[in-house]
Amino acid sequence: MQTVILIPAYNEERNILSTISATQQAVPGVDIVVIDDGSTDETAVIARQQGATVLSLSFNLGYGAALQTGFRYAQMNNCHEVVQIDADGQHDADCIPNLLDELRKADADVIIGSRFLAEGNYRLPLLRLLGIHIMRALIRLTTGQIITDPTSGYQALGPRAIALCASEAYPADYPDADVLIMIHRRGVRVREIPVRMYQSADGKSMHSGLRPVWYMFKMLLSILVTLLRPRPRTDRG
């Protein structure tokens, strides 16, 4: 296994079929791994029927921990390229080849798909947009790099980044700007390319309700401790 597409999913029975189908059309023959994050619906069954490998977590661990399960699986199977994509259909799977091409030709180990570099009408709630601006500023301040879409979950990762994301250094709930800062401190290079993103098909978001407030607090604390920690080692499983 060289390349794998990771799709963390929690109760996504309405979207998982179309997401897997679109991914299979975009990158035929590439292994698709769905990490079923303790879903109580038919997400795992549908994904399995569609030909995806399913990693079923016994209970809901959260987005970051589910994704990390996929990274650990990829690392165990000596996978060199990972693309992570959301299960809810927000990410246009047709952009996967672009992400992989950029990963192969660029001197970067993480390629972020940015919705803000692409043309489109992706609209965000004001609070979330404010959060993204703060994250951009913090990343620029701590790494000197301009990342337009620090909360994008649409990414392609190479071997060094995979090892880092499979390690204990990876945050388990909302891996966003703190991961970018962490991997930058480890010397892993990050690039951005434009990707198309859509609004979630059923309007759900992991950043709905009061979560943005918790998210901001957690992210600021996580960035602070990331900067205070010694540089993470990638050789620790």
């Binding site: 990693l55 977590l57 016994s58 661990l61 990390q68 399960t69 699986y73 165990m76 388990a172």
Partner: protein, 123 residues
């Protein structure tokens, strides 16, 4: 002015200290409490008995903290002790949370790997 402990206060403190130590050691004996979680409570019980046996220690602590009475010093250290206990338990909970996450991830991966191996054998 800092007053010394009255006999009633000393009797009450000795009773609380001894009962706390007996209760904690008995819980460890019955394996309802692990040794690593018992040390803070044994420390608290011992501290109470030390204060009763050596009241000047409490007076010294009271003067050191700037408190006007023994009661204030005891309450201050009681609250500090409870804060330490809460932080200790939060730390343990975080560790258990990480271990649980790791276990669930490993189970999910092993289960899939086992399924893949079975499928390969069937072919």
């Amino acid at each position: 002015m800092i007053t010394t402990m009255t006999p009633a206060q000393r009797l009450f403190a000795v009773t609380v200290g001894v009962l706390l130590l007996i209760f904690i050691i008995d819980m460890v004996r019955r394996r309802q409490l692990r040794e690593e979680y018992s040390w803070l409570w044994i420390l608290a019980g011992t501290a109470i008995l030390v204060i009763v046996a050596w009241p000047k220690a409490l007076t010294t602590v009271t003067v050191f903290t700037g408190a006007k009475t023994h009661t204030t010093a005891v309450f201050t250290f009681g609250i500090l002790f409870l804060i330490v206990v809460c932080i200790h338990l939060s730390s343990k909970l975080s560790r258990v949370d990480n271990q649980l996450k790791r276990l669930a991830q490993t189970m999910a991966i092993m289960s899939t790997e086992e399924g893949n191996q079975t499928a390969r054998k069937d072919q």
